[in-house]
Amino acid sequence: MDALIAVLSTFTNPVFYKLTLSASTPLLFAALGGLFSERTGVTNIALEGIMLMGAFSGVAGSYIFSSPWIGLILAIISGVALSALHAYASIRFSANQIVSATALILLAQGLTGFLLEPIFGQPGSTPIVAKIPDIHLEFLGKDSFLYKMIGSLSPFVYLAFILVLVAYFIIYKTRLGLRMRAVGENPEAADTLGVNVFKIRYFGVIMSGVLASLGGAYLSIGELGQFSENMTGGKGFIALAAMILGNWKPKGAMFACLLFGMAEALNEQLQSNPQLAIPSTIKPLFNLLPFVITIIVVGGFVGKTRGPAASGEPYEKKG
């Protein structure tokens, strides 16, 4: 009974909701990124690698130039670079998109691990660096529930949720968005109507790089202030699952990311709850929860949602 009350009390704690938002943030950036790429017809499973590279570049910039903002710029540049490689191989050379993306994940793991020592002088993880400061919405009242929930967060968190609206607007309300959707559904038809299929696809893939690298940068210079090897720990793939669950729509992806974020927040809260006193030996079993949920979601919903028809198919101009 006590345990049940302890579990339930989690839900009345504003910190739980705050954790949900911050755990959803990196997923949301990457899921929106994946969405931009897939909507134009290029599968980008390299999100995991782009996030990792973004997380690393952010810390490297902050460390070398003592400014987390320069770190942020470097992170975005790294995201553009990695995604441009993916775009070049898959659009220009019709490479197998899944295999090319796998190579980039590996490249990110290799490069970040390799550069740790030359740049920071230590393997495994970096020293603590300056973070991008949190925003405090003090007008909400310092002791209010609302303030504790959404009033004091990293600017990345607010940005991620604003980007949901921006993505919605771009995809559904602009000419560019219409073209993206056309290219993702039927590139031949779009081409016939004079849309530059390759250009639109480059745009989609590179946007995915920008967004996923922001997700990675949040993990390092937004949240922890540090980079450690393979710190993304599968988040790029969970973001892909969220994109699928959200039916390739920005709003849907947001709710899916919140669901995964909540699972993570709940896990964190339960593990650290002194009343439950969960022994450390069974903590790994709790840690596998988000992954189990992802499999259930991907396995259970994939038939019921539908991705862009031409996603993953290289396009070659005829004639």
Binding site: I45, L85, A89, S90, R92, F93, S94, A95, N96, I98, V99, S100, T102, A103, L104, I105, L106, L107, Q109, G110, L111, G113, F114, L116, E117, P118, P123, G233, G234, F237, L240, A241, I244, S280, T281, I282, P284, L285, N287, L288, F291, V292, T294, I295, V298, G299, G300, V302, G303, E316, K317
Partner: protein, 355 residues
Amino acid sequence: MKNNKWIKILIPIVSVFIALLVASIIILIIGEGDLGQRFVFLGTAYSEMIRGAFGSSSALMNTIIKMTPLILTGLAVGFGFRAGVFNIGAEGQMTMGALAATIFAVNATQLPSFIAIPFTIIVGMLAGGIWAAIAGFLKAKTGAHEVITTIMLNWIAYNIANWAVTGPFNDGSGTPKSPEIAESAMLPNLLSSQATFLSFGIVIAIIAAIVIYFILYKTSMGYEVKAVGFNPYAAEYGGINVSKNIILTMAISGALAGLAGTLESIGLYYRFYGTLSSGKGFDGISIALIGQNNPIGIIFASLLIGGLRTGSNQMQFAGVPKHIVTIIQSIIIFLVAGERMVMTLLRLNKKKGVK
């Protein structure tokens, strides 16, 4: 295309060459001093690598020890590729195989070796096979992409293994490791040199490669697998049960990875530490691609990657982080995936973008 076969061999070789070239440039950049000193540094790094991988009998044995699981994860990924499934989860299947096999082997104290060893291997292969078949089942029945599900299964396997060796399956030492396996379940050694022991695992791995070669090229099952990989719609139309084939392919692929984990446990560590892999599942991808999914090609590719891995430990002493091998592999995978890049580079592809 008439010279298709040569191009198939040429592309991975050129890719490996370009990857090594890029790695050399990276090493030159992180080196110190003037250009001459940097080239000396590069030379030292590579000669240390070669010495570490092939320079002595124990170095060579270490390379073969590294090769053993790599042949199997390479076969696992390559066999999947043949049927059009991308098994990126060899890591998790290895872990589950090793965990199950070790549990069996620890308790096999009453069994004679000729029963204990084969049964341990069967248990490990079954565990890996079932673990992969989950992803195969989901792909066949709901269309869930195997890349996502196998990656998630990797993390789940990692956490289960972690829980097992720190909790119920701990040897009582408090550090994360299982008890030692029964002596009767230990794989006998083939060779030994100083403190290095080479078990019969390599023989088993090569036999597995021959069996897979036989299945792929000499049986109707192999024909069906390849037909599904080549064009699932045509295969279905031709009366092949595509769902069944996808699940079966994943199960076989997982069983191979499970065998890799099992051999690590009964032929090398004699216990299970919860994690095996410094990325052996991912290594399998590059090996399958370099070997062009051909079992014989995969054996040679494993020698290359195993050599790079072993040599990189020695290279680290020369001041080059061993992550350089991961970078080399990623470049190889990238180039083989975009093989037309290589072909354009070699001017084998006259018209751009056209087959």
